[in-house]
Amino acid sequence: MNTVTAPAEPTTPTPTKKSGGFTATASNYIDERTSISTAVKELGRKIFPDHWSFLLGEVALYSFVIILLSGTFLTFFFQASMAEVHYEGSYVPLKGIEMSAAMASTLDISFDVRGGLLMRQVHHWAALLFVASIGLHMLRIFFTGAFRKPRELNWVIGFVLFILAMAEGFTGYSLPDDLLSGNGLRIIDGMVKGIPVIGTWTSFLLFGGEFPGTDIVGRLYSLHILLLPAIILVLIALHLLFVVVHKHTQFSGPGRTQQNVVGYPILPVYAAKAGGFFFIVFGVVMLIASLFTINPVWNYGPYDPSPVSAGTQPDWYIGFADGVLRLAPSNWDIVLFDHTFSFGILIPLAVVGLFIVLVLIYPFIEGWITGDKREHHILDRPRNAATRTAIGSAGVTFYAVLWAAASSDIIATHFKVTMEGVIHTLQVLLFVGPVLAYFIAKRTCLALQKKDRSIALHGYESGRIVRLPGGEYIEVHEPVDEYERWNLVGHESYQPLMIRPNSRGRITVAQRTRAALSRWFFEDRIDPVTQGELESSHDHH
């Protein structure tokens, strides 16, 4: 790997290496058996660019490591069994109560194992951080266009990881077999039963008979600690492999081009910063876990199908899926051909499913519209891709409305408004909100582009007012230096596709669709400043 360090390094006279010494001998021993020097040569000075937003993916990776470590500890104490026991542990209010071994062992971890509660809380907080950081990481990737060629497949892998992270979260949440998680499973059971044709049997197979049965915790445990983590590990490895193959994207900046990557080498700077950052993330999770309670299952008690308390909430990342259920109108069951279609469940599921699929395939849609087959390693500033940013804002708003809907009852009680009012408002917002967000974001982006143009051409407002000899007042504009200016002008724009007949003289439907989408994307556009414009603007001053 030809890593070029920009300026000459200070050359200190290196003393000729002594042969021998423990490190040298050990290195030689390992290299002769593993060829590890090749890996060090290839990767040791690999360059990673720096930007705070690149840390989001790192947070996700590190939280996963924290989850593996704390989770492994928990497996030594947890009993994934629904066998009925009488609780005889330290927590007095539940003494003698019948509950499953899963719930009892969760209580034992919390109240009878030293540091057990800490590890439970580390595990849960890190899991929340895992999903949150993946979500933010995806937003960074989306809004900067980092999913463009050659990284489309890595977007898909990352998105699948997001879904798997939520699956991990849900299966883990269900393991203690407490009242809240049991109700969560009850909801899943109800949704599964609503699926046409296979629903009833799927639920029956999932729970090993009728809900709740005595199998589900053990089954979720297998998924939670074996199957899902294995898939996640493989996908993370693939995800990172692609980061190495593609080399990391970088933001536009002076000296940075599509053909280079500017930053710090893995050894030593990146290793110190990224390695240190792992411990910072771990430390922050540890601090939160030692100070703040999470999921106090002892307050909820063991699962029983009868009681439930008002204001029940799923963990936040499942909120959007719970919220969409709440927004469905009443009485949507339809009986057709002697079978029940539960549209009250199916339509919300379809809405969420469609949303997920659209996000998953977005890179391919945009790639098809632009027809741009080049590799893109320089990130877009969100304002310079106005339509994409607007679509992203609409998507975020859509998600946010579903998410808010999951707390509709809490919103109603806290703000002293009616439940019906909250739901009806959110139902309207689900459709109107994204449209509003789209237009606001798009106009804001275009306005910011115009501002950039004006600053690049005429400089920034200095705040200094000068009176000219003729009596006219002007504000002096200070020019930006060429490095700063490059940040404002160093991007490309796209123009709408012009429809042309293909080689057989036809205009296909696909071509028309693409042209329409292209017009939608690129009709409102502001060209970046060119050299000619710069020169002529200088002439004016």
């Binding site: 030809n2 360090t5 390094e9 000075r45 690999k46 360059i47 330290s90 919390s110 009878d112 030293r114 800490l118 809380q121 009850r186 109800g190 039963k193 609503g194 046409p196 629903g199 009833t200 029956f204 197979l205 009728e210 809900f211 593609h246 080399k247 000296g255 053909q259 280079n260 930053g263 990146y270 290793a271 910063k273 240190g276 910072i280 430390g283 922050v284 540890m286 601090l287 030692s290 009868s306 009681p307 439930v308 029940t312 259920l325 009443s330 002697d338 079978h339 009250g344 469940i345 919300p348 080049r374 590799e375 390693h377 009852d409 019906e420 490309e492 123009q495 042309r500 690129f522 050299q531």
Partner: protein
């Protein structure tokens, strides 16, 4: 399609990100301006204070090793806290202290270690950025040609393309072999039960006494005053053991019992005999996705499901008046026996709980 995209005449060639790997890639509808502003190149390097001032450098060094020592202190603290703050059985405060002090020690160990390493990297390590050159992700023309050649050779040597019977039967075998694994999963559910039959019935039978949940004490009609609400299970549920399906039966059989003024009830002609003097019993399992409909609003006679806020009107056979539920709550026909206890006339007349495909 790609060649149509360069519609504008002002377009120059695509930027040459190919480094002699052959094909230039289509720019699509990107506008590549001929007189785009040129990249000014790297700005001059700005040294840090630690590069210029040896005293600051010394300070930074001191800060880094102090943090690392602090980290050791944190680890020792955590171990000490493990012993100094043991959990005393039945003392909840000891659990809190154990959690707090082990956690704070570990947090100190981790944060100091992390901050120290990052500070070292930022303040003391070589500060000038390096540059890697990028190469197109695709293999070089030669590599790709060789890859194709290898597949050709493999095809020649194996006869994969030529011996179509072998190839097709191999594909068939590969598709067939995972199928038994799928079939094995039938064992996830019991062999001798039909979920549809089970979902259509609950344990309620004619003459079963209505009892309080969870105590199991039977309820007399006289106990049910106007405006009150009872969480109800079948009295015989108590005799069902946990291994015999207690929770499964309970999940279907739970009932809410309310007494309204008889004139407040709007009852269908054929269901008038299902209530007793304003006392009505409805399934507590939400017809949406199955949560217990546990909240009764006494003044409005509405039942509210706390999971997704479906609301049911008790005066009108628990019709859905708000929220995502699909159907009214099923009614349990009740009567009073010789001793004045409330009893079921029969099972529910329709399946309780969430909708399912075979429900109708």
């Amino acid at each position: 399609m790609a060649q149509d995209d360069n519609s504008g005449t002002e377009l120059a060639a695509a930027d040459s990100s190919d480094h002699g790997h052959g094909t230039a890639h289509a720019v699509g509808t990107a506008v590549v301006a001929r007189d785009a502003v040129q990249n000014p190149g790297f700005p001059p390097h700005r040294p840090r204070v630690t590069d210029l001032d040896p005293k600051k450098e010394k300070n930074a060094e001191r800060a880094v090793y102090t943090l690392f020592y602090l980290s050791i202190v944190g680890s020792v603290w955590a171990i000490a806290a493990y012993m100094a703050f043991p959990i005393v059985p039945e003392d909840i405060a000891s659990v809190r202290a154990n959690n707090l002090f082990i956690g704070l020690g570990l947090a100190l160990a981790l944060l100091a270690l992390g901050i120290g390493a990052v500070h070292w990297g930022k303040a003391l390590m070589h500060a000038e950025e390096g540059i890697d050159e990028r190469h197109p992700v695709r293999g070089t023309v030669e590599t790709r040609a060789r890859a194709i050649e290898i597949f050709d050779e493999a095809n020649q040597e194996s006869g994969f393309g030529r011996r179509s019977l072998i190839r097709n039967s191999l594909i068939g075998a590969l598709i067939a072999f995972p199928l038994p694994a799928v079939v094995l999963f039938r064992g996830l559910a019991p062999e001798n039960q039909n979920p549809v039959d089970l979902l259509k019935h609950t344990m309620w039978e004619a003459g079963d006494k209505l009892a309080r949940d969870p105590s199991g004490v039977p309820i007399k009609a006289a106990d049910v005053t106007v405006g009150s609400v009872f969480h109800v299970i079948p009295e015989k549920l108590a005799s069902v053991g946990h291994t015999e399906g207690y929770l499964e039966e309970k999940a279907k059989a739970i009932v809410l019992l309310m007494r309204l003024k008889p004139e407040d009830l709007v009852e269908d002609e054929d269901r008038k005999a299902w209530s007793y003097d304003g006392i009505v019993a409805y399934s507590k399992v939400c017809t949406h996705v199955g949560c217990p409909v546990a909240l009764y609003e006494q003044q409005t006679h509405h039942l509210l499901c706390p999971c997704h806020q479906s609301q049911f009107d008790v005066t009108n056979h628990c019709a859905v008046i708000f929220g995502p539920a699909a159907r009214p709550l099923p009614q349990l026909p009740i009567a009073v026996d010789d001793e004045g206890y409330l009893v079921a006339q029969s099972d529910f007349k329709e399946p309780v709980g969430p909708s399912f495909w075979e429900r109708h």
